[in-house]
């Protein structure tokens, strides 16, 4: 097929992002509101664009994505947008903008599931990676096991019943006084701690073996802290951090490997902000090595919410002829 360039828009939660992706694999531009200085049409610099101010951010972010890619509204081949899951007020901005652009320039419109976007993020950095593969998505807002069966065909195997892993990290970090962002802080503190010193329960959901649950683990940490406080004993923060991180890692790693074995997948892809956690990565690498499974991890920029991954996912729907029409709506609970 010829050179297909897709303008992708993502606004499902905090960030407003736009990107231009060529042929599902090549990033021509990848713009996120929080990350760059944007130049207005007339050369002035737009001051820092705040999170969640999607209406203010959408135009500058889209313009910049096109400009950096050397494309125009006319030269792109299609418009893609995240239509769920997420915060409905945020999603609506991206969806309304995408529909308007698609209409104005008579371009095909493609709606993309945010989780599928995460699944496809690795496609952008690993040209040899092809479906089928298993994907472990771990972020502040999502924790899922999904399988990409084929290009444009993905299926969610399991989700969290309560907290997302990233959220659990944030909350535990706060409880032990480490501050925000929780993941990196816990990882750093855990380095000098003993992961075996305190054992926290590895939560599981009996009737849905691929689902996750972290609130029990979180409670266990909090109960432990409370207990120690009542007994007047000082808490070894490093040990708590290490123990908690070990517990979460065991759960994520264990379930991912188990799923891969059951489905006969020999490739696991990680995605989402928590994929940046080195301890988790190492553990998964080790276990994958043992099981003869190849692990793919995207770079940090592609782990967090971004529009490039949406463009990648969209390409495969595009080439299958799948299109959304102008009634495309935001679906905050999509696919969960």
């Amino acid at each position: 097929m010829s050179n297909i360039k897709i303008l992708a828009i993502e606004s499902s939660c905090d960030e407003t992002a736009a990107a231009v992706i060529a042929n599902g694999r090549e990033i021509r531009s990848n713009i996120i509101n929080s990350q760059i200085d944007l130049h207005t049409k007339y050369g002035g610099v737009v001051p820092e664009l705040a999170s969640r101010k999607h209406i203010e951010n959408i135009n500058p972010v889209v313009r910049e994505a096109l400009s950096q890619a050397g494309e125009t509204f006319d030269s792109i081949d299609a418009v893609a947008v995240t239509y769920g899951p997420g915060l409905v007020g945020a999603l609506l901005v991206g969806v309304s903008a995408a529909k308007a652009i698609a209409f104005a320039k008579n371009k095909p419109l493609i709606g993309v599931n945010h989780i599928e976007g995460h699944v496809c993020a690795s496609l952008l950095e690993h040209p040899d990676l092809e479906p089928p593969f298993l994907c472990l998505i771990v972020s502040g807002g999502h924790t899922n096991l999904a399988v990409m069966e084929d290009y444009g065909k993905f299926r969610i195997l399991g989700s969290t019943r309560d907290d997302a892993a990233g959220e659990a990290f944030d909350k535990v970090a706060r409880a032990i006084g480490l501050g925000y962002p929780g993941g990196p802080k816990i990882e750093a503190a855990a380095k000098s701690g003993d992961p075996e010193a305190i054992h926290f329960p590895r939560g599981k959901v009996d009737e849905a073996p691929f689902d996750f649950t972290f609130s029990g683990m979180k409670s266990a940490v909090l109960n432990y802290l409370n207990q120690e406080k009542m007994a007047g004993r000082e808490v070894n923060t490093a040990d708590v951090a290490a123990g908690f991180q070990q517990a979460v890692t065991d759960v994520l790693t264990g379930r991912a490997i188990e799923a891969a074995k059951q489905l006969g997948e020999d490739r696991i892809v990680m995605a989402g902000g928590v994929a940046a956690n080195g301890f988790l990565r190492e553990s998964l690498e080790r276990e994958c090595g043992r099981a003869g499974i190849k692990l793919y991890v995207p770079s940090k920029l592609l782990c967090t919410d971004n529009a490039a991954m949406i463009g990648a996912a969209a390409y495969y729907h595009y080439i299958r002829g799948e299109r959304a029409d102008l009634t495309l709506n935001a679906v905050p609970g999509l696919g969960l």
Partner: protein, 376 residues
């Protein structure tokens, strides 16, 4: 001149195309807030039917608020993205003004009311002349009783005030009770938001140069600051309020009145004192006189921490309602711009100057008057 008008601020989803002096297309549906699904297809449909494209337009006019968050987000973003992709300017048309414009042939006062929940309405008072609309007040979000009090105080005439908007079915009875024959309600085909009005008003604004680039548009939610949201209770003062009043006098005026000076104004037949409280805290007061149909505002003060949050306006509105007069007057320091602004918005106009009237510091006094029952 071709304008695409978009209206999505509340329950109505509407799109229209204005070409010169003709509304070529107009598509309006008032049925649930499903604009995220319906608005873009509606725009697509009218373009298709007229053989026009967005690139044929000269500008996009969008109803910019107040209204529902969801509706304004959808309409606003749709307009911004259309204008960006097609490289067109955007005209931010105030929603209430566009609604009032539905009735630009009416000879009386026009009052659009949008249900803002919590017994509040988004509203303003407008008047028409020569097919044009002008705003007599700011857009505001107020309890409906405050609106009727304001109308009773200043906008009664031989011609009823014409109400329109989705606030009508909610508040019709209350309004009729408060205003009787002074209230009328627009018929269904003129009563709601309409993209055609947005487009036509947009064209007028465009001619006046009142447009911006696509990136500069933001919806105007008209949500009040937190201070304004908290309900202020205004009622006549009693002797128990004297301490509070005297304390605020000392804080506010160099020539502070003492408790003893204020006392005779309470419980008098020609004088009145009103106090304002929010969550039980004393936040302001007004002292006035009303004799033989002429009123004079002597003193008004608001707690330093709550200025510019509508308390002064509330006090004066209630004052004019409780002690109706044909003419109100007051004096104000010529340099007190904030107060002058408030008085002007309440319909006061400067009539005279008393030079060097004030001490500490020396300053001129402006005499301002407000003739109630405005002539149209």
């Amino acid at each position: 001149m071709r304008i695409l008008g978009i209206e999505s601020s509340a329950l109505v989803a509407s799109a229209a195309i204005l070409e010169g002096e003709k509304i070529t297309a107009r598509y309006s549906v008032d049925h649930k807030l499903t604009h995220s699904q319906t608005l873009m297809p509606m725009i697509d449909e009218i373009m298709r039917m007229t053989g026009l494209r967005i690139s044929d337009m000269d500008a996009v006019a969008v109803s910019g608020g107040p209204g529902s968050f969801t509706g304004l987000r959808i309409g606003g973003t749709t307009a911004k993205a259309l204008a960006m992709a097609a490289d067109l300017p955007i005209i931010h048309v105030p929603t209430l003004e566009a609604m009032a414009y539905n009735l630009c042939a009416y000879n009386g006062f026009i009052c659009p009311i949008m249900d803002a929940r919590r017994s509040e309405v988004y509203t303003g008072i407008y008047a028409a002349a020569g097919g044009q609309i002008r705003a007599l007040t700011d857009e505001m979000a107020v309890p409906v009783d405050e609106l009727t009090a304001m109308i009773r105080g200043r906008y009664l005439s031989d011609i009823p005030v014409m109400f329109l908007g989705d606030g009508v079915p909610v508040f019709k009875e209350r309004i009729a009770e408060a205003l009787g024959r002074h209230a009328a309600f627009a018929p269904p085909h003129l009563s709601r938001q309409d993209a055609a009005s947005v487009a036509v008003l947009g064209a007028l604004m465009y001619e006046r140069g009142e447009y911006t680039g696509a990136d500069d548009f933001s919806p105007r939610y008209l949500r009040q600051s937190q201070a304004e949201r908290e309900y202020v209770e205004v009622r006549p003062a009693t002797v128990d309020d004297l301490d509070d009043i005297a304390a605020m006098e000392r804080e506010t005026f160099p020539d502070a009145w003492s408790k003893e000076s204020v006392a005779p104004y309470i419980d008098s037949s020609i004088y009145g004192v009103l106090t304002a409280r929010r969550k039980g805290s004393f936040v302001g007061y007004a002292i006035y006189q009303n004799v033989a149909g002429e009123g004079e505002l002597f003193r008004i003060a608001v707690d330093k921490g709550c200025r510019r949050s509508g308390i002064g306006r509330r006090l004066m509105t209630v004052m004019e309602e409780k002690a109706p007069a044909d003419l109100w007057s007051l004096e104000v320091r010529s340099g007190n711009h904030a107060a002058i602004g408030l008085y002007e918005s309440m319909g006061y106009r400067q009539t005279r100057v008393r030079q060097d009237y004030y001490r500490d510091p020396a300053e001129d006094a402006l005499i301002m008057e407000h003739r109630v029952r405005e002539q149209i």
